[in-house]
């Protein structure tokens, strides 16, 4: 086993833009790899979330039952939970459906706007919860990185600070909607 701190990323209800922005740190990912092991992520192959991860970045809002159970599981197995990007921090665009009933949202998506197979799926697709909410409304979150998406520099800075045992001050580097 490596002695390096472990890092995970989780993708809930988001557009994957935050993960893309994370990848935009380009060659600096080598620096990061020297400091931490990426043990779980949509970007790697692991299927099971490890017993304990030091830092987990969450992209996306909690929208479905799957998201809900997943984030609670992840929190249990994570030392430092980081909300990455506006969807995780504010529920952002996913939350724009909150003003409408789940039923009418599904009808709009799968019936009114569908040309083929007009049917609301009940299998495979996880059931939507009544509202899409930010991660910290479900489990405690330790660090917030707002931005849509947060810039690669911001993500890199935040991670290196966290790995150095410091809470990153992001006031001047990012904001809601940035």
């Amino acid at each position: 086993m490596s002695e390096k701190p472990t890092l995970a990323t989780v993708w809930l209800d988001g557009c994957s833009g935050c993960h893309m922005s994370f990848l935009d740190i380009d060659e600096r990912i080598l620096d990061l790899a020297a400091q931490a092991d990426l043990v779980y992520s949509p970007l790697v192959d692991t299927k099971e979330f490890p017993e304990m991860v030091d830092i987990t970045l969450i992209e996306g809002a909690v929208s479905s039952e799957e998201d809900y159970h997943k984030i609670r599981m992840v929190r249990e197995h994570t030392r430092l939970l980081v909300s990455l990007g506006d969807c995780a921090v504010t529920a952002n665009v996913p939350a724009m459906r909150n003003r409408f009933a789940v039923r009418s949202v599904l009808e709009r998506a799968y019936i009114e706007n569908a040309d083929l197979n007009q049917d609301i799926p009940v299998q495979v697709i996880p059931a939507l919860r009544e509202t899409s909410i930010p991660v910290h409304q479900v489990v405690p979150v330790d660090v917030f990185i707002p931005g849509c998406p947060p810039a690669a520099d911001t993500i890199f800075f935040a991670l290196t600070e966290l790995l150095a045992g410091r809470k990153p001050d992001l006031r001047t580097t990012t904001r809601f909607g940035a």
């Binding site: 701190p5 249990e76 994570t78 030392r79 489990v139 330790d142 966290l162 790995l163 045992g165 410091r166």
Partner: protein
Amino acid sequence: MFDRLEEITKAEQETAGRFDHTVDVCVAAGCMSSQSVAIKEALEKEVEAHGQGHRCRVRGTGCMGLCAAGPLITVDAEKPGEIMYKQVTVGDAADIVASLDSTPVERLRCRTDVPFFQRQKKIALENSGLIDPERIEEYIAREGYSGLMRALTEMSPSDVIDEVVASGLRGRGGGGYPTGLKWTTVAKSDGDVKYVICNADEGDPGAFMDRSVLESDPHRILEGMAIAGYAIGASQGYVYVRGEYPTAVARLKTAIRQARRANMLGSGIGGTLFNFHVDIRLGAGAFVCGEETALIASIEGKRGTPRPRPPYPAEFGLWGRPTLINNVETFANIAPIIRNGGDWYARIGSGASKGTKVFALAGSIINTGLIEVPMGTPLREIVYEIGGGISGGGECKAIQTGGPSGGCIPAGYFDTPVDYESLSALGSIMGSGGMIVMDESASMVDVARYFMEFCMTESCGRCVPCRVGTVHMHNILDKFSRHEATPHDLELLEKLCDMVRNTSLCGLGQTAPNPVMSTLRYFRDEYMDCMMPELNGAERVGELMEVAR
């Protein structure tokens, strides 16, 4: 002009003397809702039918206090051997009239030698239940308007203020601000036009003191306002009264008309050079209008939103003029103070809380109704002796004072004397005088939620903390009552309480957290019992150092 008052008094006494019996029927709101007007008519018919009209009279009077036992009737209230009847129905009229010259109707008797009647001391309510509120003559016959005449003919405005200062009277609307100091400030403010406003927008749920005074003895308010007008140099007054009180409004209108005719309001009052006019302004259902600056906005025809103070209405009030605002009960105490002197008043009560206070007893208490007791009376005496104890045979859990701005006092503190300082030390307030007694079955979380819902819907929406903060506090309390709250919710609730209290623009927001804070203080266990089972791992919070290793 004193002669004129005396004349009326004499005439009244003569009239009263002509009757062997006087039957008084309470026609204030409480008894009216149990058909007391129909009972009065039945009694009148009965008296006529027996040809007793020349020696028996039937009057409609104001509130007799013990609303729980209504409709109430007294026979010969001002003679020795007064008889009170309770829960009278139309069918009882014949028996009552028939009994006038013989033995009382025992099955209807309501004892008056009990603490409820014996332990009270009535100043603001001195005429309630004893006079017909729609006849100025009866008010005058009980020394009415003699305080005003005394002020106008024997005292300078500053003498009047001195008496009010000496009385130690404090605002009865809730805040407890010294009335004399308020009058002094308005009197000193620059301006040739000033206003007097009577705040009769009694909005606390569970409070009906002001309503009762207006319905039972409206002239007392007009007299108090006129004296205030003389003292501060105002010639126009407004009574801002709740639109929900149609009977009070009607009686007040009658009283103003009568007072004008009797030259106790209007121009050249009582033959002096003093002019004072009173108009009524109707509230339209907004609790926040009890706040001075919101009330002023409402009289000006605007949305009743408060504005930051200073400047205070004493300097910058109605239409930008210096304005004196006192509530109904405060004005109700003025005439007796002028009649009997400030020192007389200051001898009643305790410590820094002088005089008497009217309370509306309601909830799980046997003697619901209206009482007036000296300041400093212990809560225990009010609940168990005057109030007759807890209804339904349960144990008393707490008493709620001060409505949505107040708090819950647990039964363990019932030896506390009722005065401004003691109540606020317990985390509640005197408020306008509503006292809701709660037995063991009451859930304190639910009570807090109820009041927060009230504040949320009554918030005017002008400032952010009150407009949005009350909604969040309400939602969290709702989670508690559904047993879905987390420790995080409790923490957030307490944070919001602190923030809304300290940052809201007006008294409504600043005091909105009080019911929550006081129930958290005394009944925290009940909140803990309403929490969701622990979330275990999902509730963990990370430590930076753990990661850095």
